[in-house]
């Protein structure tokens, strides 16, 4: 049994670097954030539904997926949209992230169950 905090931290390193590679531009380029949030939710849905051990779940799930996806950038970008008068786009951004991530979790769990 490896130290859980170390596993989560190491997964977090990989998740943060992978998010950076996807090209996070924290401003109003909200598609990058949407992409990592939906993709990371799909993988986490798969990991949670699959019979993976607790070590892998901490490393790849809580660590990698948790760090790859982001709530803070999502919240900032959504508020910036509303602030600049694009309220409809802000609402759309909040909705699409939520519906997309939840659907991705369901799809991930479905894929894990089928394998």
């Amino acid at each position: 049994m490896t130290d859980p905090t170390l596993l989560v931290g190491l997964g977090g390193v990989a998740g943060a670097l992978a998010r950076h590679l996807v090209g996070e531009r924290v401003e109003e380029a909200t598609y990058d954030t949407l992409a990592v949030n939906v993709l990371g939710s799909f993988v986490l849905g798969m990991l949670v539904a699959a019979p993976v051990g607790s070590d892998l779940l901490l490393l790849a799930g809580t660590g990698f997926c948790g760090a790859f996806t982001t709530f803070s950038s999502f919240a900032y970008e959504t508020v910036r949209l509303a602030e600049s008068g694009r309220v409809q786009r802000a609402v759309l951004n909040a909705t699409v992230n939520l519906v997309g991530a939840l659907a991705a979790v369901g799809l991930g769990a479905l894929v894990a169950g089928a394998v």
Partner: protein, 136 residues
Amino acid sequence: MRERLRRLEPLFLIAAGGFVGAALRFAVAEALPSSALPWGTLAANVAGAFLLSILLYENRFVGALSPETRLVVGTGFCSSFTTYSTFAVETAALAGLPGVATGASLPLLAVANVAVNYVLGFAAIGLGQVVARVLA
């Protein structure tokens, strides 16, 4: 050698922030008493959004902090401390989604989880802006 290190510096900064952010999110979730609502993720999302907001509005208003600070604290720490995937899985689990549900289906609590994360998360961005303006 020095040139190569310089180009790798942003990656080291993001990696360091990412390690601390993810590990601290886990520690916060472990430290909080377990209950039906996932408080750990909520606390991390709201606190991380507040810190990121101060950082990014500071950059808009003043710009005194270095790009390195934004990389290690913003892209590294805040974005790894906060999480959308864990929030989504916990919400789906509360709603009783097959494969991820851990207990009884509690649709109202799932809706409440989304509402508190969204409302408090957006409020934290607004509050961070106020703090950045006061400090400016």
